[in-house]
């Protein structure tokens, strides 16, 4: 076994011994470490400096209590997290996720990935991630506001425009960022660089909403170009029908590709003539509905429902766990 290889194995062993239950974190870290062997072969000084042991250990992992009151007067307690993983190249940066699946393992997994992702952008931002096991689904605006205010009352002592700049993620959109920003401002004064994903009236950026979906297609375009190919006339299957998928469909269509499927947790649609992103946008963004309504809406234009969706030409988005979906296939007569 090469020196680099045995060093990587020893770092993995330490993680496994220290945090045997953090399986998501382990999977993410091990996948990355396995690809770094040639770099360590070329840089024995990294092994000597025990660099990987430092890379896989967060600079700081904060866990805190988030007490809040629901509309019926009951008291609730959720868990808040902020893992400030690595600030070697810039202030900590990474989203906040509100979802029942959030725990330290998941936040460490996402925070570790964020270090390398942020570095790849070429911009001076370090890696972090945070969130809570609070589930915004089914909560009133007032409940979400009270939760966000309580969450920020603690988080504010750990963040700042040159220190740590959180953003949105699953369960944290424009509404939540607004409440979080308001709570931060009340305690610390107006510093608009403390959060990103803000509304356009208080420091938000144009094209932020489109950024992930557009960026995904710019990346795909660059890859195809390097392989001597283009997006024109490609058939694309997308899993997802939220913010990223909507703008990915738009950009793919602009590139001359045909997106034939998209999906949410409730089902998927297959439209061989190309998914109409404006209909998706109307259903998901304006009406906050389910993607299966796409089939119902276009059936009025002579589209029939059948059983299966097929064909993957370019796979764009992947989910770790595939929810069981009801098949909704549509076909033009």
């Amino acid at each position: 076994m090469s020196n680099a290889k045995s060093y990587i194995e020893s770092v993995k062993d330490t993680i496994q011994r220290r945090d045997p239950n953090q399986t998501e974190f382990q999977e993410a870290v091990f996948t990355v470490l396995d690809t770094l062997e040639p770099v360590l072969d070329a840089h024995p000084e990294y092994v000597k400096a025990n660099l990987l042991a430092r890379l896989v250990e967060p600079e700081r992992a904060i866990q805190f209590r988030v007490p809040w009151q629901s509309d019926d007067g009951q008291f609730h307690v959720n868990r808040g997290f902020r893992v400030q993983f690595n600030s070697a190249i810039g202030p900590y940066k990474g989203g906040l996720r509100l979802h029942p699946s959030v725990n330290l393992d998941v936040v460490k997994f996402l925070g570790f990935e964020q270090i390398l992702k942020n570095s790849l952008t070429g911009l001076p931002i370090g890696g972090a991630k945070g969130g809570s096991d609070f589930d915004p689904k089914g909560k009133s605006d007032s409940e979400v506001m009270r939760f966000c205010q309580s969450f920020m009352t603690e988080l504010q002592r750990h963040i700042g425009p040159d220190l740590d700049v959180p953003a949105g993620d699953i369960g944290v959109g424009g509404r939540e960022i607004g409440f979080l920003f308001g709570a931060y401002k009340r305690l610390n004064g107006y510093q608009n660089g403390v959060l990103t994903g803000k509304g356009l009236t208080f420091g938000g950026s144009l094209a932020r909403t489109e950024a992930t979906g557009f960026g995904l297609l710019y990346y795909t375009h660059a890859m195809l170009k390097a392989l001597g190919d283009t997006l024109t006339n490609k058939k694309i299957k997308i899993s997802g029908a939220g913010n990223v998928a909507t703008y990915a469909i738009q950009k793919a269509t602009e590139y001359g590709a045909t997106v034939i499927t998209c999906s949410d947790f409730d089902g998927y649609v297959y439209d061989p003539n190309g998914i109409d992103y404006q209909v998706v946008k109307q259903i998901k963004e304006v009406e906050r509905g389910r993607i299966k309504e796409y089939a119902q809406r276009l059936r009025r234009r002579n589209i029939m429902k059948a059983l299966f969706g097929i064909l993957i030409q370019i796979m764009i988005l992947h989910y770790r766990a595939r929810p069981k979906m009801k098949s909704v296939r549509i076909r033009r007569n």
Binding site: T31, L120, I125, L206, A207, R320
Partner: protein
């Protein structure tokens, strides 16, 4: 969320090119960082300015991954390329800053 390791192995076995999540979906955080730039200079850029910067950043992410792929002869393994390109910059910065 990225593909599970088994899925990635399946892509490789079937000669399917794979763009890892950390590279392909970095557009969101990239524009977040551009939002920070606008906040600190107290300006708002036009949609086209931000979109063009985003396009350049995504091109550069792929180019960096591809360069790492070539440098270490990874045979179009863009996942390893992205990991290595991201790691190299962080590693150099960490080495320069001493044992902290």
């Amino acid at each position: 969320m990225p593909s599970v390791p088994d899925a990635i192995a399946t892509y490789r076995d079937n000669h399917i090119y794979y763009g890892p999540a950390k590279a392909a979906n970095a557009g969101g955080v990239a524009v977040s960082a551009l939002e920070m730039s606008q906040n600190s200079e107290r300006l708002s850029w036009s949609f086209e300015t931000v979109d063009n910067r985003l396009h350049d950043i995504m091109d550069s992410i792929f180019e960096m991954s591809e360069a790492a792929d070539k440098k270490y002869d990874l045979k179009q393994d863009y996942q390893a390329g992205a990991n290595i390109a991201g790691f190299e910059k962080v590693a150099e910065a960490m080495m320069a800053q001493g044992l902290v």
